[in-house]
Amino acid sequence: MLKVIRQQGFSLLEVQVALGLLALGLGLASQLYLAVGQQARLTYERQQAMQVLQQIVTVLPYFHQHVPLVVALSESDQAATEVGCDAAKACSTEAMWMHFWHGWQTQISKQLPAGKVALACQPSCAKGQQLRIEISWGKQQQKACTKRCIAVEWAL
C-alpha cells in the first residue's frame, strides 16, 4: 500500500501578498506618526513666530513714525543694523527702533530655520496706511503667506 503524505502550506503568492499588506500597513502607520510629529514641530515654530510678532506689535506704537527706516533698508542692510542700545546706553529714538529691529531679526533667525521678518507699507508708510508685518521661515514654495508664515496688518 502506498501512502502519500501531503504537506499543507501557503503558496508563494499568498506569502508575498501578506508581506505586501504588512509593509503597506507599517508604512501608513509611520506616515501618520511622522505627520503628527511634523504638526507638533510646525505648532512650535508658529508659536515662536507669534511671540516675536506680539513683541513687534507691542513696540510699534512707540516708533510708528520710524517704520520707514526699516522698510527702506535692503535685507543685507537690515542684518547690520545693531546699534548697541543695551546696558543703560542712551539712544536716539531711531537708534532704539533699529536696536529692537535687530533683536527681532536675531531672535527669528536663531529660533526658526531660514527665518525672516519683514515690514512693508501698503501703499506708503504715511499715517493711516496699512503696515504689513510678515514672519516667514523654511523653504517658501510660493509668494503667498501660507504654511510657514504668519502676517498681520497694522494701521499706521
Binding site: A40, Q47, Q51, Q54, M96, Q107, K110
Partner: protein
C-alpha cells in the same frame, strides 16, 4: 506498507542567504525604529517647550494687562511693584524672583508671596525709560529710582523656563541649554516678554 514521504528542505546556501537577509532587514528596521523613536522624543520635547513658553508669556501678559495709570510703583533688579486694577480701585502688587525656589512670585501689598511662575531661572528684568516729556523708550536699565519710575514705558521680562525629564534634543537652537548631568535631564529655554506700561505723566 510502504510510505513514500517527500520532505522538502533548504540547501545550506539558501539557509545562509535567508539568515543574511533576515539579519540585515532586522538591523535596518531597528535603525528606522530608533530614528522614529528619537524623533518622537524630540517632538514631545518641542510640545512641552511650547506649553511652558505659552504659559510664561500668557501669565505675564495677562497679569500686566490690567495696570492702572502710572503702572509701576517700584522698579528694582529682579523685583518690581505694579499698580493693578482689581475692580475695587488700584492695588499694589509686588513681583519678585526667588532663585532658591526657581519661582517668580507675587503678593498683594502686605500679604505673603506665592508662586506665580514655576521652574524658571536666569530672570532678567529691564525697564525702558523715556525722556521726560516723551513717550518713546530711549534707554534700557535694570533698576529705576522711585522718582523716575513714571518714565518707565516698557517692562521686559526675560526668563529661562526649565523643562524637566525631556529626551536628548535633536537640534537645539543656540540659546537653549541642555543639561544631562543631573539624574533628571532638563532643558532651559529662553522666553522674552515685552509689556507696555503706557505713557503716563508726560506731555
Amino acid at each position: 506498507m510502504m510510505v513514500l514521504s517527500k520532505v522538502g528542505g533548504f540547501s545550506l546556501l539558501e539557509v545562509v542567504l535567508a539568515l543574511a537577509i533576515a539579519t540585515s532587514s532586522f538591523i535596518v528596521a531597528q535603525q528606522l525604529a530608533h530614528g522614529l523613536w528619537l524623533r518622537g522624543q524630540w517632538w514631545q520635547t518641542l510640545a512641552q517647550v511650547s506649553a511652558r513658553q505659552a504659559e510664561a508669556v500668557s501669565s505675564l501678559v495677562r497679569l500686566h494687562a490690567g495696570y492702572c495709570a502710572a503702572g509701576l510703583a517700584r522698579a528694582g533688579e529682579q523685583h518690581w511693584q505694579l499698580r493693578l486694577d482689581q475692580g475695587r480701585g488700584c492695588q499694589l502688587i509686588d513681583m519678585r524672583y526667588n532663585g532658591t525656589k526657581q519661582q517668580l512670585q507675587k503678593r498683594r501689598a502686605g500679604g505673603r508671596y506665592s508662586a506665580f511662575l514655576h521652574a524658571i531661572v536666569d530672570v532678567q528684568v529691564h525697564y525702558a525709560l523715556a525722556l521726560a516729556g516723551h513717550c518713546q523708550p530711549h534707554r534700557w536699565v535694570t533698576r529705576v529710582a522711585v522718582d523716575d519710575v513714571q518714565r518707565v514705558v516698557l517692562l521686559q521680562v526675560q526668563v529661562n523656563v526649565v523643562v524637566n525629564g525631556v529626551g536628548q534634543p535633536m537640534a537645539v537652537p543656540d540659546d537653549w541649554q541642555w543639561q544631562a548631568n543631573d539624574s533628571e535631564p532638563s532643558l532651559q529655554v529662553p522666553v522674552k516678554v515685552l509689556i507696555p506700561l503706557g505713557c503716563q505723566g508726560h506731555a
